[in-house]
């Protein structure tokens, strides 16, 4: 953001791009970083294991 503050006329409430807003929000990132492996690795994996038939 250092480029932004230099111009004296720049409106302070200039729209921040969506991607940058995502990257600036650690808690949203935290949610995504936990949800992604929880769903794709853990849940999917555990679902497959639970479908293995029990030996008689």
């Amino acid at each position: 953001m250092s480029e932004q503050g230099t111009g004296s006329g720049g409106a302070p409430e200039e729209r921040v791009p969506a991607m940058q807003r995502l990257l600036d929000n650690p808690f949203l990132l935290l949610f995504m970083g936990v949800a992604s492996p929880a769903a794709l690795y853990l849940l999917w994996g555990v679902m497959e294991l639970s479908q293995i038939p029990i030996a008689q």
């Binding site: 953001m1 600036d24 936990v34 492996p37 690795y41 853990l42 994996g45």
Partner: protein, 576 residues
């Protein structure tokens, strides 16, 4: 305290600060104290665990075969836990506090909780060590069920993890404080962003650990009758693998930090580097599935999606960092006037400064030895030719030792003068240390991979099979590899010892930094470089011919080695 240029002042929230005479940064005294204790304890575990590693390597050297079998497995367990968990994570906590409170120029959130975290981590690590050394918990680092350790082994790990989780939340809390108190504008600096990545992965890591270790503890005391081995493996690796990704993120953040502090290197593009970290956040942890590539019970879809399609996006992230950091160094050096030819910028880099040489070697060893082999092993088909062989420890000694440990050692050479405010003692030893350690551990890595390619299995006390019912002979080259591995282990241990010697002596017996000694030998080339670490901003108009050549070399090596391994596979398993 005598060297303070300003007496500690009190901030509006009651925290006390000093102003760093070398960087001009405001340093929260609680953050500083916590960085010190976590770093010191980390180094203690590195010393202990590294020594165990030497004993293990000497046992695997057939001509020496140092330890009896039970001690081999006991110390192998202790080695894994002490270095991979305790050394690395204590140091990472120090990195998190540094990347939040120090880099963002604010106070540390909830210092009392941070101290509690530290105490829990120490207690947990000591209890787990006691359990292993008592001999009833030689279950290896992975502690696969149905092997059972003593209850206090699991309990120690759980207490340690609770402490680490608290530390991670202190870090997140500090980010909130920095934002509220306006200690930075706009986006956090890139090094802090790397630390955020590490902290996010840590939350998933510790959650997975809790999901599996708490039931396993209950099983060890008899409250639960059965833990499914495959379920254990899937969830355990959610922790075991992801924790390596905390290391990668922290280590990359340190690469950026040291490049910025020593050379004034600015990221080539803040956006691209942050996107690369985002790839880590989203995809790196999925690679946990590569530990289950030969497991029945999970589908090929699950394996291949997690270890290939998704993971390659994260590998892309690593390659972006791997190009962008040398590129940033090149751009900064050229800005400083080292503009002749292709590689003057590299030749004239501060190779005599262990902080720089450590980082440079860390990048090379991690990329060439660790990264390429990791992608090979993570390919489902290729994995079959080295699964559970010594190739695996060969690979991860390149990543987690040559990469992460060496990067942590490198930044320690800046932490001692800046945070402990002590002169580095034995400067010559310090100067040589990264080279000795880097050469030794590269040998350990290469020779273990060599032996693994010949089929030698990991975690095996006697490759001569002397008391086995059926005899088996490895090729003579395998024995040679194990001998060379032993010699490299001695060299690496020497490098480790040099590090411990320099750091412990400097911290406890070193001369305090004074304004005169700071003026005579500044830690950073100019105070401006501290600003590079603590602010957002990309390099303008970089020219990078040298980096382009280096990156091309890397890709050629990568592609060749990839195809060599497919060729290998085709010979192991002829289809015609």
């Amino acid at each position: 305290m005598a060297v303070d240029t300003q007496a500690p002042s009190r901030g509006f929230s009651g925290a006390s600060y000093r102003t760093c005479p070398e960087t001009g940064l405001k340093v929260c005294s609680q953050a500083e104290a916590l960085i010190k204790v976590n770093a010191v304890v980390a180094v203690v575990f590195l010393a202990v665990g590294g020594f165990f590693g030497l004993l293990v390597a000497l046992t695997r050297w057939p001509a020496v075969h140092l330890l009896p079998a039970d001690w081999f497995y006991l110390l192998l367990t202790a080695h894994g836990a002490d270095v991979l968990l305790f050394w690395i994570i204590f140091f990472e906590v120090a990195v998190l506090y540094f990347a939040s409170a120090i880099i963002l120029n604010c106070r540390l959130a909830a210092p009392k909780w941070a101290w509690l975290a530290f105490v829990l981590m120490v207690v947990g690590a000591v209890v787990a060590n006691v359990a292993v050394l008592q001999g009833e918990s030689s279950v290896m680092f992975t502690s696969y069920v149905p092997m059972q350790a003593a209850p206090h082994f699991y309990l120690g790990l759980i207490v340690f993890a609770v402490g680490a989780l608290i530390a991670v939340f202190v870090f997140f809390g500090t980010l909130v404080i920095a934002k509220e108190e306006g200690s930075y504008e706009g986006s956090v600096p890139l090094v802090t962003f790397g630390a955020i990545t590490a902290a996010i992965i840590a939350v998933f890591t510790i959650a997975s650990g809790a999901i599996i270790l708490i039931p396993t503890f209950l099983w060890s005391v008899g409250y639960i009758s059965h833990i499914d081995p495959l379920m254990y493996k899937v969830i355990w690796w959610g922790m075991g693998h992801s924790s390596q990704q905390i290391n990668v993120s922290a280590q990359v953040a340190i690469w950026y930090a040291v490049a910025a502090m020593l050379l004034g290197a600015k990221p080539l593009s803040e956006k691209v580097s942050r996107m690369a970290f985002l790839m880590y956040i989203l995809f790196l942890q999925l690679a946990s599935a590569h530990h289950l590539l030969v497991e029945p019970g999970v589908s090929s879809e699950w394996k291949i999606f997690n270890t290939s399609y998704a993971l390659y996006l994260a590998v892309l992230g690593s390659m972006i960092h791997g190009m962008s950091i040398p590129g940033a160094m090149e751009a900064a050096q050229r800005r400083a006037g080292f503009n002749n030819g292709m590689f003057e910028w590299l030749r004239k880099a501060p190779w005599g400064n262990p902080a720089f040489s450590g980082v440079a070697l860390s990048i090379v060893i991690f990329g060439f030895l660790g990264g390429i082999t990791g992608v090979i092993m993570g390919t489902e088909q290729l994995n079959l030719i080295m699964h559970n062989t010594l190739y695996v420890p060969g690979h991860f000694h390149a990543t987690v030792v040559g990469g992460t440990t060496l990067a942590f050692m490198a930044i320690t050479y800046l932490v001692v003068p800046l945070i402990f405010r002590k002169e580095i003692m034995f400067k010559k030893i310090a100067q040589w240390q990264p080279y000795v350690f880097g050469a030794g551990i590269s040998g350990v890595s290469l020779f273990m991979m060599g032996a693994g390619t010949l089929g030698v299995s990991r975690r095996h006390w006697d490759i001569g099979f002397s008391d086995a019912a059926m005899s088996f002979d490895y090729p003579a080259t395998a024995f040679l590899m194990m001998g060379l591995n032993g010699i490299s282990a001695i060299l690496a241990s020497l490098g480790g010892l040099m590090f411990v010697l320099v750091v412990v002596c400097s911290v406890f017996f070193g001369k305090a930094r004074t304004p005169e000694s700071i003026a005579a030998s500044p830690t950073l080339p100019s105070t401006g470089t501290a600003e590079t670490v603590t602010t957002y901003g990309s390099e303008k108009h970089p020219k990078l011919p040298g980096t382009v050549v280096l990156v091309t070399v890397f890709f050629v090596a990568f592609v060749l080695y990839y195809y060599v391994n497919w060729k290998y596979l085709s010979e192991v398993w002829p289809l015609s």
